[in-house]
């Protein structure tokens, strides 16, 4: 359809020919005017705080709000010297869980799109992790507890696999699995959208031409769904960078060296606003970079 607002203005002209110019000029203000409240809210509560974060990141501790402001880059240097393992650990955990999502989510999406008829049921069940990682992590930590409810069922399986029960909780694998389950729906949705755009007759044609299943995957499915894979991976990765509660409930001290937790520790508990702000900026830059990349490759509703 042609630009709809021009159609409306044309009917204005029919109604009141003499007032076309003023009406159109005033009409041009309506659009931005309708956007104004949303814009103001965003500026006040999203942009301004972030600007503040940048500013405070360059001051020493809480001196920003006193009369003895001390500007310094030492916060970032401290991050580089002492907290680099935290940054690396954050990225590491996020990568592990995103890879886990990809490896297990791709087949899930494929089966969901191609073979399964009860998609609504699956979608409803998939909203469960999205209620909050808190309940998920809590439930998982309870399941994996050595004397937990599933112990009769779980212990034999674990003994069979040679895994010591007490090492299961508060470990990296558990943390990664918890994070992965939370972002699993994101991966499935992105890959699923990409796969649904792949013509199934292409796979069938490949099979009739003699391709083995793995060849069908590497030569047809993978290249055609690549944008979905990338978008899903980046989306999961971006979310997992900011993870907070899953390492707290499912991880031990080594896993809890995550930027969000350290930020909370330093900022709210120890009032070292300078350092916390600097960490916040680092986390923000990481998450933002990843999300920007993912938006470039994904298909949003806004046709980006």
């Amino acid at each position: 359809m042609a630009n709809p607002s021009i159609t409306i203005h044309a009917s204005d002209a029919i109604a009141a020919p003499g007032q076309v110019t003023t009406r159109r000029w005033r009409g041009a203000l309506v659009g931005p005017g309708l956007l104004l409240p949303a814009f103001v809210v965003t500026i006040l509560f999203s942009i301004v705080p972030l600007i503040y974060l940048i500013l405070v990141g360059f001051t020493e501790e809480s001196t920003f709000f006193t009369h003895h402001r001390v500007y310094t880059v030492s916060n970032y240097r401290v991050i580089w010297d002492r907290y680099l393992p935290h940054v690396v650990n954050t990225i590491k955990l996020a990568v592990y869980s995103s890879v886990f999502d990809l490896v297990f989510g791709y087949p899930f999406a494929y089966i969901l799109i191609r073979k399964v008829r009860y998609r609504e049921l699956v979608r409803t069940a998939m909203t469960f992790p999205l209620f909050g990682p808190l309940y998920l992590a809590y439930g998982i930590s309870y399941i994996v507890l050595p004397n937990g409810p599933l112990a009769p069922v779980l212990n034999p399986i674990l003994d069979f696999l040679g895994v010591e029960v007490t090492t299961l909780l508060f470990s990296t694998p558990m943390t990664v699995i918890g994070m992965a389950i939370f972002t699993f729906p994101f991966m499935v949705m992105n890959v699923g959208t990409a796969l649904s755009n792949v013509d199934p007759t292409l796979e069938e044609a490949a099979r009739t031409l003699g391709a083995r299943p793995w060849q069908v995957f590497t030569r047809i499915l993978f290249p055609l769904s690549w944008s979905g894979i990338l978008a899903g991976f980046l989306m999961c990765f971006g979310w997992n960078l900011g993870v907070f509660v899953v390492p707290l409930l499912l991880g031990g001290i080594p896993q809890q060296r995550v930027l969000s937790l350290t930020l909370y520790q330093k900022g709210v508990v120890q009032f070292d606003y300078g350092l916390a702000s600097a960490m916040g900026i680092v986390l923000m830059v990481l998450a933002f970079g990843v999300t920007w990349l993912s938006l470039k490759f994904s298909r949003g509703a806004l046709g980006a």
């Binding site: 359809m1 709809p4 409306i8 009917s11 659009g31 309708l34 956007l35 409240p37 814009f39 809210v41 965003t42 509560f45 999203s46 942009i47 503040y52 974060l53 297990f104 087949p107 089966i111 073979k115 979608r123 409803t124 069940a125 998939m126 909203t127 469960f128 992790p129 999205l130 209620f131 909050g132 808190l134 309940y135 809590y138 439930g139 399941i143 409810p149 389950i181 699993f184 729906p185 994101f186 949705m189 992105n190 007759t201 069938e204 989306m235 960078l241 900011g242 907070f244 509660v245 969000s260 937790l261 909370y264 900022g267 709210v268 916040g280 923000m284 998450a287 999300t291 509703a301 806004l302």
Partner: protein, 274 residues
Amino acid sequence: MSATTLASRPKREWKRPKIGSVLQHAYIWFWLALFVLPFVVTILRSLEDPDGGRSFAAYSTVYSSFWSYLRLSIEMTVLTIAINLLIGIPAAYAIVRHPIPGKRLILSVLNLALYTPGAVMGISLAITYAFLFHIPHSYTGLIAAYVVGTYPLMLVPIIVALRDLPTMYEEAARTLGANRLQSFFRVELPLLGPGISAGILLTFVIVFNEFLVTLFIAGPGTTTAALRVYGLTRTGFLPSTAAVAAVMQFVSFLVVLTFFKAFGSRYLKGTYLI
């Protein structure tokens, strides 16, 4: 064409399910079980009696100590939804129906809060509230944080629904004598019902269960239910904690289910939540 032959193959004959297809469905069910398992386990734990039996005893805490938190959460969620509607519907309308320079950039800015990690938003708002706006640990501050974090989620479904809505309805109303406002409220708004409901659903689920940003900026008088659950989970696995967590999840699930039954998943398409 081969496509039509494949499609017209008779499907009504009963074929013995092949092992491959059974495995595939099993794979799906395995993961679905994994999603729902924490919830089920929490419910089971909440039904445990100190004497080893099964009872609803733990749920008494839900009525006694937890109820005030629950009421506060619901109150705040409803208020956030109302504000989101007030801000989001005009904004969505402007974006879809009006020519605005720099629309792409404006949209990216409006969506900013969605891409900000919770901890970053928390610390930035904590600092700003305490020292710039001078409203530390306040009710208003919390509501503002919720609104700015969730109105993009209200925006997207409405934009999608609005885009699919042909302008001819509005134009027909205008030729029949309605002015801009009337035609919007009586024609377009009802037609946008499902899109708006999708936004309400997303806002509800997110705000009701939100505790991370709340952790940074809430105070003693503004402890929401989700924040309270977070505090309780740090103390162990008592049935009362499990009961409280189960209630929160149950309420969220009920809302989601109602929406899906009423409108299906079509209107949540672009939001990456579905």
